[in-house]
Point group: C2
Chain length 161, copies 2
DNA sequence: TATTGTTATACTCTATAACTATA
DNA sequence: TATAGTTATAGAGTATAACAATA
């Protein structure tokens, strides 16, 4: 008797658990796939994110980069060192603040960023290829809801950890 | 004129790109949230995954663990060293193969695994709370399709990198 | 001869703390 | 005094290669 009474709730609960499992699996596959593509260009995820920021925002100080990447200034030093050694970025003098350095993409860095962007869009198209527009739209809508909840949790956690 | 002709395809393409961006954001939030919870128990993601395997499959050799975790045997040595030092696992003699060691959860390890599982289910319920069963079902269906594609890509990449 | 786990070594990401040059 | 970036040091995950004990 209880089984009938609880059926809806139990099923939803099980479904929710399974779906979260799938979401985690998806997360892992996405990140792994991304890193595989980056490795073939001699990049790691952290270094690629730095290039990505510069590509979208133009030259930035290391201070700004450390905030954009949510890591310490010391960490940015290491990343920029590596990217500079591999020819992706240069350190330029800041026009008005002699303490700061402007990290700037080289031609090679810009080319790499452009390739990453193209690969990303190609990946997006192939992932959803053949999916009905309606299905994509409703999937995206639920995804947006989930993201809203998660962003709230994340920002609350950052403020009061 | 071209804009009308291409509208459907362009819109889908844009939507696909946006949705992939959201998927990546979701992946990051999921992993970050997970790691926050683990850190409060003195665990890292890699160590938690090892505990998770033992919890679901019982005592395993390090060889088997290295395959389950997709990392080198050497890496497993480091993880087991750390987990053993913190009291989560022990190394036991293999009953028939004197080369192998069986990594086994301690009482503390089992308790931690149980807590992780409870937290995971709680998280799953709260993430989907209030979402209509239909929406959840169709979301899960699309998710399953995407996973199918990604798994193919991933396994193909592993075999011919 | 093949397999299990280890020592040795190295690279990457990350962090805190102390310090230099500049604002 | 505060800020930008560095040196110094450390922990964690990961990898390859060489080696021991055992199968």
């Amino acid at each position: 008797m209880n089984s009938i009474h609880n059926e809806g709730r139990s099923l939803s609960s099980v479904k929710a658990g399974q779906t979260v499992e799938r979401l985690f699996e998806l997360a892992i596959l996405l990140v792994d796939g991304l890193e595989g593509g980056l490795a073939s260009r001699g990049l790691t995820r952290a270094r690629a994110e730095l290039i990505w920021q510069l590509h979208h925002q133009g030259p930035l100080t290391q201070r700004t980069l450390s905030q954009a990447l949510r890591c310490t200034p010391r960490n940015v030093t290491t990343l920029v060192d590596a990217l500079q050694a591999d020819g992706f970025v240069t350190r330029e003098a800041h026009p008005t603040d002699r303490r700061a350095t402007l990290v700037t993409l080289t031609a090679q860095g810009r080319e790499t960023a452009t390739e990453m962007q193209a690969g990303y869009q190609q990946f997006a198209r192939s992932l959803f290829e053949g999916l009905a527009a309606d299905d994509l739209a409703s999937f995206a809508a639920v995804l947006e809801q989930l993201l809203g909840r998660l962003r709230n949790v994340a920002s609350a956690t950052r403020e009061q950890p």
